[in-house]
């Protein structure tokens, strides 16, 4: 049974604790600008809710037949708190149990969660941008309005941007720390052999 270095255990514990921030700061942001919105519109995605100019954005989007954005639309908000809780617990357990296979599992779990989250977000974005009310006032043949997954995209008069918010960045840092620790463990072991 391979164990972890004390420094690795400490970093893993810190990384797991960093994820606690997910309960207190927004994870993802969607920003929008239009000629008549030079100040920009903002939508912040938290672990269990959406805040920001959601009503304004929904009011604008109804012209092209997009759904009204409601917290209830997202079952994710019901269970994301448990997933993140599980990740934090798993991380702390990894530090506590002090076994390398746990670190492997934790790393894979994190990657899998991140991929699943992005896939889920993309699927929602696809539905939101394509599943339009056929009676909408503005109906441009061939036009769909899927928001960008990550990065910037022009949607009619709006420039939309999607990317991590502060909580997302902390999550990314935590992930990098975990991956780095795993790399560090593998690298130092190789050296010994």
């Amino acid at each position: 049974m391979k164990t972890l270095k004390p420094l690795s255990r400490l970093v893993v514990a810190i990384a797991a604790l960093l994820m606690v921030s997910a309960y207190f700061v927004p994870l993802w942001q969607i920003l929008m600008w239009a000629p008549q919105y030079p100040e920009g519109l903002e939508m912040d995605i938290w672990i269990n809710t959406i805040t920001g100019d959601v009503k304004v954005i929904s009011a604008l989007n109804h012209y092209i037949g997009m759904k009204h954005i409601e917290v209830e639309m997202f079952p994710e908000f019901g269970y994301m708190i448990y997933i993140v809780g599980f990740l934090i617990g798993f991380g702390l357990l990894t530090a506590l149990i002090n076994r390398r296979f746990m670190l492997w599992m934790f790393s894979l779990l994190l990657v899998a969660t991140a991929v699943a989250a992005l896939v889920d977000f993309w699927l929602w974005g696809y539905d939101y941008g394509h599943n339009l009310d056929p009676t909408a006032a503005i109906n441009i043949p061939g036009m769909s309005y899927q928001p960008p997954l990550i990065g910037t995209k022009q949607l009619l008069n709006f420039t939309a941007f999607s990317g991590p918010d502060i909580g997302g960045w902390i999550f990314i840092i935590a992930g990098v720390l975990i991956m780095g620790t795993l790399g560090f463990e593998l690298y130092t072991q190789k050296k010994k052999v």
């Binding site: 009676t135 503005i138 780095g180």
Partner: protein
């Protein structure tokens, strides 16, 4: 050591990628006028602007006069709304101007301006404006900048498609925005729209000599909404084009229900044909109640007459008057180019701009290239009438104006820009952002046969951060662009009052030489005018007290009035005896429930006052007229109803019984 560097490097990579990521976010658009912009819009102190810019006031119900290129506001002309600063709609003379078949209406919503033309070119005589709410058309005299006529429109539910004019100002049109039930069947369920609701278009004739308006005829058309219109000109003179929406004939949630069809219509009206039918006696007289209010320059008084009949034509029975042309998605603007050959329809929800050809429309009619009928009216095939489409011009096209070089300028509400394109080739040439969400735009002479060009003004619907904020309620924003070169250049950003919709600009030299400086006292035929201080007097007629008052620098005559009793209605008929330029006098009295009156030199205006308590009431001149303006004041004594205080009046007379004060 190596691992440390390694770790540091990793951190650095994360940090830099985060910074790069953040800086990838798009920036809000910058909007700075560049280069020689300021000098192009600069009119040195004491110098005149090149153009009069006549701007609709929207929900203030008035017209405003700006100068271009400076953007300076010169005057607000009261039209459809009361204006306490001049007494418009408060004075006894002006109240009849706001009379309607619904009684006195103190407010309206003025959307569009039409400056009179002769041979399709500006003649500087009149400016017409529409009342959107209680349907009316007003005529403003460009010599006095005064509203001189207001004509109400019967069988109309909202006069939006108005007051567009024909080439020689033969007609001003008025198309209803709301179709409504008319005649004997007005108390009907709203859901009986298709059966009972009709849209009426009025053709108002304008007398070429004095401008007097009269409803020449009304066209009974299917129940749709008429939005905007333009007359044909040159080769298409004799025709008129109206944009329509809600051809779905929805009567609720129009936002959705009137946006379902791929195409609504542009309605082409052969008004020469309509004239033939009228001459042939095909018109039917129909009962209708509407007010016609005319201002008399000599009595300085408006007279309101209630009319009771209107002549109508039914184009479903009388063929060849109207044709429908399909036009994508709820067309708003419907603009004819200076040659009269091209008609631009701006579907406000469409992703392209169709341009129709008058020649092709005529061919299509001759060859009967119809795709069917709508409520008994032939519908021309879209392709048969089409010159071509401007592809991907922008989002939310609304209105198009023209320059003299064959270019069109279209406003785009959603993408907030003006797009310049060539009418012949339909090629997009240039685009500039507007701040924010432009509605109408205006090129001097843009709707005429000979555009003056040079500038385009954007009248925006959203102001936001353009100026110092003033709470939730903001001024409206306008931008001026120089269009003399290939590229449009922003040269000025200026606030506008009310909520401007359409505006026109006319070269100063066509208006300025005719501007009246004073009203001649010897031409004043006001029945209560006192044409000299010797004629100043106070008369009692029952419980009416008429004060024939004069105003001259720096006293009012009479300035001491006694013998007014509670229950009296006091009429101050103030005549300004000045015959000098820019010396108005004003008049106000304490407790008056009306307004002040502002009286121009040589004019008489009347303020009605009903005192509610006894006592001595001060009155004064409200317009700073002279060095001793502050001394231009007086008193009215009000006694109890049964009192025997005799009626007397004076100026400069010191009474014996007084305590010696003033001697």
């Amino acid at each position: 050591m190596k691992t440390k560097i390694h770790r540091l490097l990793t951190l650095l990579v994360i940090f830099t990628s985060a910074v790069v990521w953040q800086s990838c976010k798009p920036k809000a658009p910058a909007s700075v006028a560049m280069g020689d912009a300021a000098s192009k819009a600069f009119v040195p102190p004491g110098k005149y602007d090149e153009f009069y810019n006549v701007v609709s006031g929207g929900f203030n119900g008035q017209m405003s006069i700006y100068g271009l290129p400076s953007g300076r506001l010169f005057r607000i002309i009261p039209v459809f709304s009361q204006f306490p600063e001049s007494g418009w709609g408060y004075s006894e003379e002006t109240k009849p101007m706001l009379n309607t078949s619904h009684g006195f209406v103190p407010w309206d919503d003025l959307h569009h301006i039409a400056l009179s033309t002769t041979n399709g070119e500006h003649d500087g005589r009149w400016a017409f404006g529409n009342a959107n709410n209680t349907p009316r058309v007003a005529r403003v005299d460009m010599k006095t900048f005064k509203t001189v006529e207001i004509l109400e429109l019967p069988n109309s539910g909202g006069n939006h498609s108005s007051p567009f004019i024909t080439e020689n100002t033969e007609y001003v049109v008025a198309g209803t925005r709301f179709s409504v039930p008319v005649g004997d069947k007005t108390d009907v369920p709203i859901s009986s729209f298709k059966e009972n609701f009709k849209g009426y278009i009025s053709f108002i004739s304008v007398d070429p000599t004095d401008g007097k308006m009269k409803i020449a005829f009304q066209l009974k058309t299917p129940g749709v909404s008429f939005d905007l219109a333009r007359a044909g000109k040159g080769k298409s003179h004799g025709w008129f084009f109206f944009s329509t929406y809600n051809t779905e004939q929805a009567y609720t949630l129009l936002e959705v229900n009137a946006s379902q069809k791929d195409k609504d219509f542009i309605m082409a009206v052969n008004w020469k044909k309509a004239e033939e039918y009228i001459k042939a006696g095909k018109g039917t007289k129909s009962k209708a109640k509407y007010a016609h209010n005319v201002w008399d320059e000599h009595t300085h008084t408006g007279v309101s007459t209630i009319m009771d009949e209107v002549l109508q034509l039914d184009p479903a029975e009388l063929k060849d008057i109207i044709y429908f042309i399909p036009c994508p998605k709820s067309p708003h603007g419907c603009d004819t180019d200076p040659t009269g050959e091209y008609i631009v329809g701006s579907g406000k929800l469409a992703a392209l701009i169709p341009v129709f050809s008058f020649t092709k429309i005529q061919q299509a009619i001759a060859n009967k290239e119809f795709e069917g009928e709508f409520a008994g009216i032939p519908v021309i095939k879209y392709e048969a009438a089409l010159h071509g489409e401007v592809k991907k011009p922008g989002l939310g096209p609304l209105h198009t104006e023209f320059d003299a070089k064959g270019n069109a300028y279209t406003s785009f509400f959603v993408s907030s820009e003006i797009v310049k394109w060539n009418v012949q080739s339909l090629e997009v040439l240039d685009r500039v952002p507007t701040y924010y969400s432009i509605g109408h735009l205006s090129v001097p002479g843009g709707p005429t046969k000979k555009p003056h060009g040079k500038y385009v003004v954007a009248y925006n619907k959203i102001t936001k951060d353009r100026y110092l904020p003033t709470g939730p309620e903001l001024t409206q924003s306008a931008q001026l662009y120089d269009i003399s070169g290939d590229k449009m250049q922003l040269i000025l950003d200026f606030p506008t009052t009310g909520e401007p919709h359409y505006a026109e600009s006319i070269p100063a030299e066509l208006v300025m030489p005719n501007s009246v400086k004073i009203f001649k006292l010897e031409e004043n035929k006001h029945p209560y005018a006192a044409l000299g201080e010797g004629q100043a007097k106070v008369e009692r007629k029952g419980n009416q007290v008429h004060v024939y008052m004069t105003a001259i620098r720096s006293h009012l005559t009479p300035d001491n009035i006694e013998g007014v009793k509670l229950g009296d209605d006091v009429y101050f008929h103030v005549t300004n005896l000045e015959q000098d330029w820019d010396v108005p006098h004003g008049f106000a009295i304490k407790g008056a429930s009306t307004a002040e009156v502002l009286v121009m030199p040589g004019e008489t205006q009347t303020l009605k006052w009903k005192p509610l308590t006894t006592g001595v009431f001060p009155f004064y001149c409200t317009d700073f007229c002279s060095a001793l303006h502050q001394e231009m004041q007086g008193y009215v004594r009000v006694s109890p109803a049964g009192s025997n205080v005799p009626l007397k009046f004076s100026t400069g007379k010191i009474d014996d019984q007084s305590s010696g004060a003033g001697q």
